[in-house]
Symmetry: D2
């Protein structure tokens, strides 16, 4: 951390900064420059709270050199985190995992049909919401616990694993009981109470990037989960806010390379929310795998035109099938392959 003093900062003000740094247990290195003095804080392990120094007299700016997170960083743990799943597969290895299914669980027939379809095309995890965060209180809010039971039934029949979202501590307890992977949605990425609870339950967590979260903030949110005891976090790029309304979001594929550089955690991509338009999903799924994503999460619905939510961005099953063949070929080009279920003879 580098503390930049004002051009007219006094010797006493500089000494004040040094003293606070030392009182926090770090070493201080004042560096007089032509225009102003800067004070280096040496020994920062990523946990220094900048607010302790940025308000001191004579300080004009605090510049972060070290990253503000720790356990999620590559420097803390160089080798990639490999997250084991109940079916014997792993997220974060050479293989690219595909999670697919409808936005919401709507009925027994809908979810079972969807599960069979995505399994037939090669997905190994079924996605579908039982608890739905909707921007309008008047929109369909999900089937709740009934939805969880239907997901368990789909798993029992197909062998797919289950990923589904939790929105609050009460729902998390229910979801953690049933799901194989707990999803935390973009709108809750900085719901720190919920993140801490995620750290205290045993299931892997799929943490989606917030709508205007920097990559650094996404990693800090993952740090909350690790710091609370759960090392199994899967990150997810799902599009960020921008000024252009041509797509629902801007799908930030550079985030994959950046995150792999900064962290050992796996990161997957969600081109359905990343674009918001069914016709763009296959191209962006191909691009995500080409960019190095460790997996995909894709909305697929047996009848998108009848979906109760996100129909416009849900693939038809035959689109999904074609997409799977393309992304498989692209994975091969970069020395990876799509994950296939353990025991599968494909």
């Amino acid at each position: 951390m580098l503390i930049v003093m004002k051009p007219d900062a006094t010797a006493q003000e500089i000494a004040g900064v040094v003293q606070v740094i030392e009182s926090m247990g770090y070493e201080a290195l004042p560096m007089p420059g032509r225009q102003r003095t800067t004070v280096g804080l040496i020994g920062n392990d990523g946990r220094v709270d900048a607010s302790r120094v940025e308000a001191l007299a004579g300080v004009t700016e605090v510049i972060h050199v070290s990253k503000p997170y720790k356990q999620v960083s590559r420097e803390w743990k160089p080798e990639p985190t490999r997250i084991p799943l109940p079916d014997g597969t792993v997220i974060g290895g050479r293989e690219v995992i595909v999670m697919a299914g409808p936005c919401s669980v709507e009925s027994e027939e809908q979810i079972l049909t969807a599960a069979r379809q995505v399994k037939a095309s090669g997905a190994t995890v079924l996605r579908a919401g039982a608890f739905k965060p909707r921007s309008s209180p008047y929109a369909f809010q999900g089937l709740g616990t009934v939805g969880l039971e239907l997901l368990a039934a789909a798993r029992a029949e197909t062998g797919l694993l289950i990923v589904t979202e939790a929105m609050d501590p009460h729902g998390l307890a229910l979801v953690s009981e049933v799901a194989d992977i707990v999803q935390i949605g973009a709108r809750n990425m900085q719901n720190y109470s919920l993140l801490k609870e995620c750290g205290r339950q045993p299931k892997p967590v799929l943490l989606k990037r917030g709508l205007s979260a920097t990559i650094s903030e996404m990693l800090l949110s993952a740090e909350y989960i690790l710091a609370s005891g759960n090392p199994n976090v899967i990150l997810c790029e799902r599009g960020i806010r921008s000024f252009d309304t041509a797509t629902r979001n801007v799908f930030d594929l550079s985030a994959i390379a950046v995150t792999h550089g900064l962290s050992h955690l796996p990161i997957i991509a969600d081109p359905s929310h990343g674009t918001g338009h069914r016709d763009m999903v296959p191209a962006m799924a191909r691009a995500a795998v080409a960019a190095g994503a460790d997996g995909l999460i894709i909305e697929v619905h047996p009848h998108p035109e009848q979906a109760l939510s996100d129909g416009a961005q849900s693939l038809f099953p035959e689109q999904f099938d074609r997409m799977m063949r393309e992304v498989s070929a692209i994975a091969e080009v970069i020395g990876r392959s799509l994950l296939v279920p353990v025991g599968s003879t494909t």
Copy 2:
């Protein structure tokens, strides 16, 4: 709502859209154009779920003409909402309310000193966090219930009202017990579970705009609270994300005029988070009142350089005092005045 068909949409696809609209209980009006047909949905009361039609065959785009919210809108209730407070004052009337205090409750001496200082300068509500949402798990997280007790003590001594943040359902129950106004922070603006709980408790709610929330989304979040039973919502502009890092956020003062045009709810401004720099707070506080804000919420600390959080954006007490005189004069220019406590002889 206007459903735009693709240029090559078939008569059957158009009929399909008409049928779905009618099955939802609304009237459909197809309008053939030179390049394509559009279908109007007549009778939308703000609660039509666009996802039912946007995935239909032949549809290229859905355009919203009606607003997606209802009870918070000016069309639903033209006169401004006036929210009564326990001390007999009102938010949302001719008078401009000022809430002030430190970012966090840190100690008995700190909060009592701050309370006395802001009261002396004319604030009528004390702000300070007992539960703190911090982007790093290693930063100070607040004193919790002890903080709430200290706030109650400060109120008992000074007569100031209390506004403080709740971060989850458990904390909300505690905060609702003690506070006069419950604050929901920017990071939780779309924490819908928490918003529903806010609707079921009796205290007024201060709802801060999310970091990348549109005004429409902020109003939808307020709609969640109203729809759950609590009509007393105070909105708050506190700065939004932008590409420029010169300030912590971009303080969007136009949001005040826009919100007043769309909604009957009062809206206040938070120039402390809106700028992130102490030296800009007084100018932006003046600007906010000049722009028509119904109130201000300002970070003030007895010793900003010792603050455990947000010290760089906290005013010194004497700065706050000077600021109060300036904003008072500006309120007068536009036919308003600063709110003074009932029974005060100022």
Copy 3:
């Protein structure tokens, strides 16, 4: 175009809107709704100037249904534009073109070495700036006409075509004389005087998307060139501004699919500026081709660590060579191939 009236608009105000629409030569269709009346403008061919109606009494909003551009749209010309180049190749067909070279022409040895290297790896167009737009007046501004001469010499030796930037009318005349493709940079995307001049000269134009330009605005800028007489415009996604400073820009790959849907013009991708970091360029080049880009423009420098500009985002020649093999394989996966020079026996 749909003109939304205020809820309390009078019959006279509605009649006023109808009258203005008819005076502009279009048909007006008033549609009374439950909350307000909307007036449809029928017959819009993409050239209606909204500012004529949005200021009329009683109008609250103008909604665009038709696109604001015309000659660049798919509806005007459904088949893709194929732009012929002097070496007999084409941009906009099945083949993916690669343009590569240093940010700036720095010396004869540098540009000749770079030209030989990128040609050896399969590029068919040499990129390098003679006139450089730099955000600081004190940074290297390019070699000017000497740079153009060096580019011509590199072409004479290697047979590569030349793309280079023009910044003003005077420079455009010089560049148009020498280059095979004229580049208009992101900062000049809305320099309408320059765009009109581009329309009056004969060379194809590579138009880069502005730093905060919507796709619609990029297409409107291309429309300026077509409307001035030049149909040969190549669009280029090169990253847009966002709130995250982890990368220089956010590389918006969805723009490729969106643009292909709206326009018949070819669009290429610039992952060098799109990311700003050498280590991310190959992954994003692969992703761009997987997403359907019609070409790539890549910064490569014989000695990036000695580059006078953009060294940090310039590939080493051997990195570029490896990247070319990867993107070639990805092009094959989606039924395309890298463009090879006419007469090449590769």
Copy 4:
């Protein structure tokens, strides 16, 4: 400037960075830290080109401590720049200047009427475009030289000064001949060729902030003008791009305080473009003056509903008159006053 090395950078790579810094004529100070070494560049006067070091082996990041501009900075010249105008008044002093008029010159009657109206309300500069940058090539492009003549006629009759936009070198020569202040529009803020030409002509320049320009980039563009010989630059905040489409732009009033902190140049505000809606302009004009703006530029049209451009954001003359009384009172509150013409008896 601080060069951050990778954690695994070798001693040789660190020595390489030191050598390049010294070869540029600056002093290098390597600082070994716990996780990595950083190298300080001492003596930076704001003109170091970071691209020389950021591509060196072992470098992970370059952090700017000094500002990249020089002559425009407060550190170069602490006292505010006061720009003298031909009528004896000054921009940048205690008084707040108001420029007003229609978006475009449309006819003799329109511009003369507008001039009389804004003068009657207290404006001292007439604004109106003769050359108009329009996003569509089919929209009204301005009257050109005829427009300039009409502006000169309006000045002759009313005594108002003239500010009008130049879009290219040819137009600049014409505008510089006639206008008292030359305006460079937001879309040309980084048209460096045009900025250099502005530096070589004698009239003061009104430089509008680009749609997604950081404050630092705006100051660098001003630096281009100063470095080319013209010290009289007036900056202008006019709204920036954001994700919310509720207003045309986000009017960034914090930019005024930030700019006053960094630079000695005056900065005015344009609430007409900043909001895009007539009804919001007076509130934002009041806010801008409360925030410390050195002036306002306001669109006013005798008949906004007949305007050929920007009608929706143009004030009615009576609105402007009321606004002038309000902003005058607010200026007094902060110890300033509206500028009145020299010799005026008001």
